[in-house]
């Protein structure tokens, strides 16, 4: 047992050394640096469109381009919207109504979804006869599918309640890489702008950065006091934003390997369900359990706006690739487009 004790001691001392190394580069905090910058003025966004059509709680929404988005609801439907005209381009009935996530491929050719069925189902939108059919069912996870994101038409990354993330080859339906390391359910994932890495947030209160190519976990970030429900990259690809049940969001920087700032407020008592940065990253829009969405100045950590209009929890949020609008999806069965 002496060896185990030694190993444990070594692991502990390494942790302390890492903490010290992180402190060593804290020559200035983000707050100090931006002390001279003014807070972004009050941001007031209005609802421009309301997308009606779902009959039950909306669990996920994802933009395909500046106008098309896909949403998933507990009514067992995946709807592809032309949100500018509010028309439903596709209404795809699902085998399992317990859907938790959906994703639009960057090419616009496919959408994917999954949930309590532990599978990621890929649908081809550009089939020959115009019908939308299941193209692949990616099954291997032993827990619910919490999030999925396409890398391209051949590869997709999924995160699951079985504490792992997986990179799949869609054509063969096989697992290419399994990213294991989290100690709790993986709730959310985000792909880096350069598609070389991705981040995952889990119920072990940590966020991990993974290298897609070699399957290794490159960095781990802690600090949250409860489940991390939402995660996303800062637009420059060098920082990560997380949202948690502890009612706060945090910004972690990859290059200095630590937390830069926390976004919280004594008036907010509900968990964060979803988040999305604006195009420049200066604003962070975060959806909460209390039916509202708060807009944060990412550098000054002050609330600069609120989106209220939903009658139930905001479960998902996304900003268009061109930054023109954001979409919120809620348990009240509506999607709203704001800017």
């Amino acid at each position: 047992m002496g060896e185990m004790e030694q190993l444990r001691k070594e692991a502990e001392s390494l942790k302390d050394e890492i903490t010290a190394a992180r402190k060593a580069v804290q020559d200035l905090t983000l707050q100090d640096h931006v002390a001279g910058t003014a807070v972004v003025g009050r941001v007031q966004l209005k609802t421009r469109k309301t997308l009606r059509g779902h009959l039950s709680k909306i669990y996920a929404v994802h933009w395909g381009d500046s106008k098309l988005c896909v949403s998933a609801s507990q009514d067992g439907k995946l709807i592809v919207w032309d949100s500018y005209t509010t028309n439903k381009v596709h209404a795809i009935p699902l085998k399992s109504s317990w859907v938790m996530t959906c994703s639009y491929a960057p090419s616009g050719n496919m959408v994917a979804c999954g949930g309590l069925d532990n599978m990621c189902s890929i649908y081809n939108l550009k089939g020959k006869d115009g019908n939308v059919k299941v193209m692949r069912e990616l099954a291997a996870h032993t827990g619910y599918l919490s999030c999925c994101r396409f890398l391209n038409d051949n590869e997709i990354i999924t995160s699951s309640g079985d504490c792992t993330c997986v990179l799949w080859d869609i054509e063969t339906g096989s697992q290419k890489t399994v990213f294991a390391g989290h100690l709790g359910d993986c709730m959310s994932l985000g792909v880096a702008p350069d598609f070389n890495t991705f981040i995952s947030g889990a119920c072990d209160f940590t966020a991990k950065l993974w290298d897609i190519r070699d399957g290794q976990c490159r960095q781990t970030f802690g600090g949250h006091e409860s489940d991390i429900n939402a995660i996303g990259f800062f637009p420059n690809g060098n920082a990560v934003i997380t949202g948690s049940d502890d009612a706060s969001c945090k910004l972690y920087d990859l290059r200095s390997d630590q937390e830069l700032i926390t976004y919280q407020d004594s008036g907010i008592m509900c968990g964060v369900t979803s988040l999305a940065p604006s195009l420049s990253g200066r604003l962070i829009l975060a959806g909460y359990d209390d039916f509202n969405c708060n807009i944060w100045d990412s550098l000054k950590a002050e609330r600069v706006g609120v989106l209220s209009g939903h009658d139930n929890r905001v479960s998902c949020i996304g900003v268009t690739p061109d930054g023109m609008a954001c979409c919120t999806g809620s348990w009240d069965s509506f999607l709203k487009i704001w800017n």
Binding site: I18, K67, W98, M100, N154, G161, G267, S298
Partner: protein, 511 residues
Amino acid sequence: EAFGTSYHHTSLHHTAEMFSCVFLSIVQMEDVIARMQDEKNGIPIRTVKSFLSKIPSVFSGSDIVQWLLKNLCIEDQVEALHLGTLMAAHGYFFPISDHVLTLKDDGTFYRFQTPYFWPSNCWEPENTDYAVYLCKRTMQNKARLELADYEAESLARLQRAFARKWEFIFMQAEAQAKVDKKRDKIERKILDSQERAFWDVHRPVPGCVNTTEVDIKKSSRMKNPHKTRKSVYGLQNDIRSHSPTHTPAPEAKQPTEEELREQIKFGQAQLDRHRLKMSKVAESLLSYTEQYSDYDPFLCTPDPSNPWISDDTTFWEMEASKEPGQTRVRRWGFGINEVLKDPIGREQFLKFLESEFSSENLRFWLAVQELKKRPIREVPTRVQEIWEEFLAPGAPSAINVDSKSYGKTTQNVKDPGRYAFEDAQEHIYKLMKSDSYSRFIRSSAYQELLQAKKKFGVCNFFKYFLKMCLMPTKTTFFDESTLKTVILWNFIIIYNSCFLFLYIINCNLFL
């Protein structure tokens, strides 16, 4: 108090285990509620004399709003109402004359909920409990506590569902009603209202939000399902089978030797990584947001307009057109990634490099990016093609890679995968960034695009001139210098045409 307060303290411990995901927000809310109930600094609770009787233990909606504004860091009344409604929806206080749990900033009377019924006790009351409750209500003085329509419907439904054990339910309801009758009138009023508020949370009025609903991702993680299924009225419930989604949480186990070694390996790699100073990181974040704020539609109005607001899709039409606008071209100057991200940028970059006969680097980079998106069965052939074109001895578009990357790539090509050229691509990317890209940005081709010096043909001039006259709003993407050029050339053409016309007429006159 009738339902017992001691239960509350032990239940908080259970809460931590069972509902870790909602624990923190509930604790925060209950903290505020405790402060609201404080004798000295809380909300003043009073008994109000009404027409025939007294209304005990109440406070008004405005009292709540004022207290929140004074004691919490809340900006305005709207936010106070929002937070207050949230607390009411969770059942911490309730309007005494309404089933709908919202907060109104007026004289409406509210009462505090007893801690026994607080959400931290993890209630998941069964329908048998609800049936007992509704049945009991029908036994009470109908004038005071008549069932609402939706409650009467629920009762009818429950009677059908529990037809076999209705006698048992009826007996329970009778027993409860007997106990209630013995109570002091005032105490009964309070307890009845609190019980009703509890059911308003767990069986809300149709159309109202049910705050007890939990995200299915979380509910499938909850531990100890049996502990939460306790009866409000002490009834024995049928053993429920595990829901198929429920997976018992793994016991926190000690790491094995192998896991420890992995942790140490990971820890060592972490320790060895280079960390950038926070000041540098902060500076880079600040400059990035500043640089891109002009392009962020939430901060700056886009040019010509935001299609969502103006209903004018010109912005998207311009993005899709082959001719890039000035703002778009300016963005390419921010870094090589902007050029590589934009299809028109790539096109222009390639065109420039081809004019200099140095396009092989970019073509290689583009080919490798494209390779990564191919279906796996096409990868081996494509890898071979790229190798032949760019790296093999005597390759037609030979690129210059460092010997280490070259060696690695030679090996990779023997067992080709999507990332066979990763090292070479990284090397080429760095080369392009420092060399080709900076030449491109300094080139006259790029500068001309940046200043939008367009070489117009005669037809184009007329076209743009007409467009300007007939649709002034849609030609707003012209900058001043281009506008001047267009107008000038149009005048020159018209002037010359007139001159020519007069000359011809003159000739004819002479003839």
